[in-house]
């Protein structure tokens, strides 16, 4: 996934996903973790994650565990990039001003 563009169209569900990551910007979250926090259906959640990753707001990597020893498959973890953190902060700051930039 290359980082194509820092601009992405927002939706309410996208904002909720970003909000979940902004609670702890350094935290890595899987799709299941985001679902638990945002209650967004999988049909909507994963396209958002991929879209934000494609835009360079997120990076993702596999969980560094041994599935056989852990007894479960490894998870795909997402994390905010510095660009994503800046852009997401700008988005929410625009809401705080009450005017959409």
């Amino acid at each position: 996934m290359g980082k194509k563009d820092a601009n992405i169209r927002m939706s309410l569900q996208t904002l909720r996903v970003l909000e979940a990551f902004l609670e702890n910007p350094t935290e890595q979250l899987s799709g299941a973790d985001v679902h638990q926090r945002c209650r967004i259906a999988s049909g909507t959640l994963y396209p958002i994650l991929l879209r934000l990753e494609s835009a360079g707001w997120f990076v993702s990597q596999w969980e560094s565990i041994d599935p056989s020893s852990a007894g479960r498959p490894r998870r795909r973890l997402y994390r905010l990039t510095s660009t994503g953190l800046r852009r997401a902060s700008e988005v929410f700051a625009s809401f705080n001003r009450g005017v959409l930039a």
Binding site: K4, R9, S11, G31, A41, G43, P73, R76, A101
Partner: protein, 290 residues
């Protein structure tokens, strides 16, 4: 097929429809996240959602769509907040379409079953068919008639010697009839006293006026004989009493009332043509007229 198999099958096929570069990653990622779901229904919803997520991802990763998606929506920042990118098929929409589809299938099944049942219930078209003439019915043998036996009973005719008793009153009209004078013993003396028993005189009340109404409703009839004592002027000198009841206390009471009401209208008995006080029985008949 267990639900776990169904979920894995859905996710596997969903990932197969994703872009090739993402297929393996999405399948592994979704299978991992599937285990985080607790309930079976949540897992099923997750698997179905993955199927639709694939459609969105594949649609967005088309070359033409990718070019559009990479362009900025507006140079100044966030513009569109409608969920235009992937809201055309959400889980709610898919669930709605699934429920609607199930209803359509059920309604179609009902209609098919009803039409099948209705078709089987429709009778075949009418056909005229000449039936062979039936043989004439045999007349049943006549039943034996009843046998009547004649019984002859010889009943001896009873011989009853009853002295004639005077009937007080007129049975038809209800008027009080005087009791005929009893035969007098032959005079012991040379002077014979001619006695005439008293009775009812002019202005004596009508029996119908004292017919008890309840007796009329019950159809009670009968003769009540009361003893009256009358002076020379036809007035009662003592209260009349019942000497022979009619069988109905109501009729007897009506007779007494009639006898009392008739005071002053009695015809006094006479001795040698002179009215005298006397007591005599008075029969009062209560009979209903048709």
């Amino acid at each position: 097929m267990s639900q776990r198999t169904v979920n894995h099958w859905l996710i596997h096929h969903a990932a197969r429809h994703a872009p090739e570069i993402l297929a393996e990653r999405l399948e592994e990622e979704w299978l991992s996240d599937l285990q985080a779901r607790t309930s079976s229904l949540s897992r099923l919803r997750f698997a179905i959602g993955c199927f639709w997520a694939t459609q969105v991802i594949a649609w967005e990763h088309q070359p033409s769509r990718a070019a559009v998606a990479s362009t900025t929506a507006a140079g100044s920042g966030v513009v569109a907040y409608a969920d235009q990118n992937f809201s055309f098929i959400s889980l709610k929409s898919s669930t709605f379409f699934l429920v609607v589809s199930l209803h359509i299938v059920l309604i179609y099944g009902f209609m098919t079953a009803i039409s099948h049942t209705h078709k089987s219930a429709v009778p075949d078209p009418l056909q005229n068919r000449d039936l062979p003439a039936s043989p004439p019915l045999e007349q049943p043998p006549p039943l034996p008639g009843p046998t009547l036996k004649t019984w002859t009973i010889d009943v001896p005719r009873p011989v009853v010697n009853v002295p004639p008793e005077p009937i007080p009153g007129d049975a038809i009209t209800g008027n009080v009839v005087e009791k005929p004078a009893e035969p007098t013993s032959p005079p012991a003396q040379t002077h014979v006293v001619k006695q005439v028993v008293g009775g009812t005189g002019a202005g004596f009340p009508d029996t119908a006026d004292f017919y008890p109404s309840q007796s009329i409703r019950l159809g009670e009839q009968g003769i009540s004989t009361v003893q009256v004592c009358v002076d020379a002027k036809g007035r009662l000198i003592s209260d009349p009493t019942t000497v022979k009841g009619s069988g109905s206390a109501r009729l007897d009471e009506g007779a007494l009332k009639l006898a009392r009401a008739g005071s002053g209208h009695y015809r006094a008995a006479t001795e040698d043509g002179q009215p005298v006080s006397s007591c005599y029985p008075l029969g009062i008949r209560f009979q209903l007229k048709n």
